[in-house]
């Protein structure tokens, strides 16, 4: 089966081409081709998963053998002195896990978009790019070498650009698309430099070969490993991760990227593309293990990001932006997790992909119904949109890490691993991660309350979305709820669990068992509960500031009111004063005024520099020198040409004068 695994990325790629070529003539505008190809790819992924996971489980249960790895490659081009570029596939647990996630979410989004983009004038184009994106993402995960990975990486970037700017008539949308592309491209400088540096160090792009060399402590030509250069390359990769996975301080493109159609946000900006950075670190995990400095960088960046983005999510009025910041925050978890544990990082990637895609699609359904992104214009939708509500609730609970839903297991694993790792970075991630969990609950409670509770505040009569949209919601709700169970932290189950499926080496799996810490789980759940109560109280009391809080307090029963009274002190002090009125605005200020302005300012400054360079240096300076040469030649010519008056008499006079002078000269010469 793994020998035809290349079909999995090839199918969507072919589908993209076919849709562009024939889509307009198809009955459903080409969508059926995309759905069919993704469905086939998903089935193939499942079959492949059985093979690969089965092989891995066989190894873990028996304790002998190796993690499943299948590579195959073809030469792409000779590039001199015997080196070549290769295109190759690498099938292992991680690849298959990403296959499952990407094909499934992509399939759901393909189906969902049938309803969401029904009647759009560029419907066919949309499906073409969507398929193209899936192909690029699958190429990224299946690459066996860094060069091909870079290719996939850039291709997802450009398809993201096309999809964010899908409604390009509005300048804001194309602005967002350009911002996304350029910001991630800035991060890609790191990736390119990293790839180049690793190639320079190891003389190959092949990930397996590089990993093996690092394992043996050698580099190209058998010289001893230069860990400084390796750390440089890996930290350069971190810059790429920061760009692509929207980590602090390059995260600002992701909320803007919500300008794209909502299914796109679900696919690209929640489940797949933004996880590419995390995937990259996971793919190179053996290298990162050898470079502690790079790991520490990951931990710090992840911790900053998860906290900061969580605070920002609190104050967004656009439902998609809440989810976008939430995604940034969750990506922070993953990045931080990868500083300590391979399994914890990718497990959160896996579960998050499902439930965040669900949440985005749910948000899309809500927006479809309410005709607005703004939380102010929603409310009371639970009654009219029962399916959306139920599935959205599942997604929210999973995100909130409520046991036993998906998010609980993966997030708990991160905290456990951070605690186990200890040290400054471990403690940082543990504390910040726990706080971040509470923040997550807080902002998701707010979203739930403002969207589904109370009465509808917007215009029109919202109704449930069509079946093509609710179907995927239901289909996604199942894994969102249950997928966490595949990695139950029970020792006896572990040889059959997710950690075994996706291991990159048997030795690592054996030395890094998955543990469960009741204390940490209890604290996390407690914090989550506190966050939920605080959020409920706060947003019940102060929905959005424009309704009178007292009037809203009225219907609440006295007992509850009294109970909340205590909570409200806590709420007012901690949540409202410190978090909402101080920290969150400060974060917003920092974000909007400093970071985003710095990013935008850097862009503007670059353009201004360009203008300066062009006007002053190029036109005035370099071209000026040239013009100066030309002008001086011209000037002396103009002086000289005065002698050429065309006046015959002048010429004659000059000639005769010359004759006389010559005669005198000769005469003098003769005499002397």
């Amino acid at each position: 089966m793994s020998s035809v695994a290349w079909l999995i990325p090839a199918l969507p790629a072919a589908s993209a081409v076919v849709i562009v070529a024939l889509g307009r003539k198809m009955p459903v505008g080409g969508a059926e081709i995309g759905i069919l190809s993704l469905a086939t790819a998903f089935v193939l992924s499942l079959v492949l998963a059985v093979e690969v996971f089965g092989a891995n489980v066989a190894a873990t249960t028996s304790g002998v053998g190796e993690a499943f790895l299948h590579t195959a490659r073809v030469e792409l081009a000779p590039i001199g002195a015997g080196d070549s570029l290769f295109a190759g596939i690498r099938i292992d647990g991680l690849t298959v896990m990403m296959f499952l996630l990407v094909t499934f979410v992509s399939l759901m989004v393909h189906v969902y978009s049938l309803g969401y983009l029904h009647g759009d004038e560029r419907f066919t184009w949309y499906y073409a790019v969507l398929s193209f994106f899936s192909a690029a993402m699958l190429l990224l995960v299946v690459s066996d070498n860094l060069m091909l990975l870079l290719v996939g990486w850039e291709l997802v970037g450009v398809s993201s650009f096309l999809l964010i700017g899908f409604w390009w008539e509005l300048k804001a949308n194309s602005d967002a698309a350009i911002k996304a592309f350029l910001t991630t491209k800035l991060g890609d400088v790191g990736l390119v430099v990293g790839v180049v540096a690793l190639w320079g160090q190891f003389g190959t792009f092949d990930i397996a070969a590089i990993t093996a060399m690092v394992g043996d402590g050698v580099q190209a030509g058998g010289a001893p490993l230069d860990t400084g250069l390796l750390s440089f390359a890996l930290i350069a990769f971190v810059l790429g991760v920061v760009g692509k996975s929207a980590q602090f301080p390059l995260h600002t493109w992701l909320p803007d990227a919500m300008a794209g159609p909502t299914p796109v946000s679900a696919l690209i900006h929640a489940a797949t593309m933004v996880t590419a950075g995390v995937f990259l670190v996971a793919r190179l995990y053996p290298l990162y293990s050898a470079a502690p400095a790079a790991q520490a960088t990951l931990a710090v960046i992840g911790a900053i990001t998860l906290l900061m983005a969580g605070l920002l999510a609190l104050v967004q009025e656009d439902i998609k932006k809440v989810l976008a910041y939430s995604t940034v925050s969750q990506l922070g978890y993953m990045v931080a997790a990868l500083a300590f544990s391979y399994t914890a990082g990718i497990f959160h990637l896996f579960t998050h992909g499902f439930f965040k895609a669900l949440l985005f699609l749910g948000a899309g359904s809500i927006i479809h119904a309410a005709h607005s992104n703004n939380l102010r214009d929603m409310g009371g939708l639970a009654k009219v949109m029962p399916t959306t509500f139920a599935t959205f609730l599942v997604g929210t609970l999973a995100l909130m890490a409520v046991p036993p839903l998906a998010g609980f297991w993966s997030k708990d694993e991160i905290l456990v691993e951070a605690a186990a790792a200890g040290g400054y970075t471990g403690s940082l991630v543990l504390v910040v991660g726990a706080l971040g969990g509470a923040l997550t609950v807080l902002y998701m409670t707010r979203v739930l309350y403002l969207t589904f509770a109370g009465s509808f505040r917007g215009e029109g009569h919202p109704h449930e979305s069509p079946r093509s949209m609710t179907g995927p919601l239901v289909a996604l709700a199942v894994p969102a709820a249950l997928i966490g169970l595949v990695n139950l932290p029970v020792e006896a189950f572990q040889p059959y669990a997710f950690s075994a499926w996706t291991m990159f080496s048997l030795e690592y799996w054996q030395t890094h068992p998955i543990a469960f810490e009741p204390a940490i789980a209890a604290v996390a759940v407690g914090l989550a509960l506190a966050g939920f109560l605080a959020g409920w109280a706060l947003y019940r009391a102060l929905p959005l500031g424009d309704d009178d809080p007292a009037r809203r307090l009225g219907p609440v029963s006295t007992v509850l009111a009294e109970k909340y009274y205590l909570d409200r002190l806590w709420t007012d002090l901690v949540t409202r004063t410190i978090v909402r009125d101080t920290a969150a605005p400060a974060a917003v200020t920092l974000n909007d005024e400093v970071i985003d302005r710095a990013v935008a300012g850097a862009g503007r400054a670059t353009v201004a520099t360009g203008r300066r360079v062009y006007d002053d240096v190029d036109q005035r300076g370099i071209d000026g020198v040239l013009h100066g040469l030309a002008t001086s030649t011209w000037w002396s010519g103009a002086r000289l040409r005065l002698s050429q008056s065309g006046n015959v008499q002048l010429y004659a006079g000059a000639m005769l004068t010359g004759v006389v002078v010559l005669a005198i000269v000769f005469a003098v010469g003769e005499v002397s």
Binding site: R641, Q644, S645, G646, N647, V648, Q649, A652, G653, L656
Partner: protein, 101 residues
């Protein structure tokens, strides 16, 4: 007879011709000045023949040649002047500066 007399006469004619050539704007006058200079040349030729006295009468023959060439020059010169006049309505030699720059 002293040889200097005709020679100085020729030098005088020539210098006057030079002056006229350089100082007048009327194209025909310039031609006349050239004729003066040519005449000076013929005087010199004849004088030098008289001094040397060769059998082939070279000086006289050359004087005749110069005369003929002078006549030809006047003919062509006047034709050019007329052409310039037709094109520019002027016989002012300062205006005939098409070759400038």
């Amino acid at each position: 007879m002293a040889a200097v007399y005709p020679l100085i006469f020729a030098a005088l004619l020539f210098s006057v011709g030079v002056y006229g050539l350089l100082s007048r704007r009327h194209a025909v006058l310039v031609l006349m000045s050239i004729e003066l200079m040519l005449a000076a040349v013929t005087v010199n030729l004849v004088t030098f023949w008289a001094i040397a006295g060769d059998a082939l009468l070279t000086g006289q023959v050359f004087a005749l040649f110069v005369m003929a060439i002078g006549a030809a020059e006047i003919g062509v010169g006047l034709a050019i002047i007329m052409l310039i006049y037709r094109n520019r309505a002027s016989v002012n030699i300062d205006d005939a500066d098409l070759m400038k720059y």
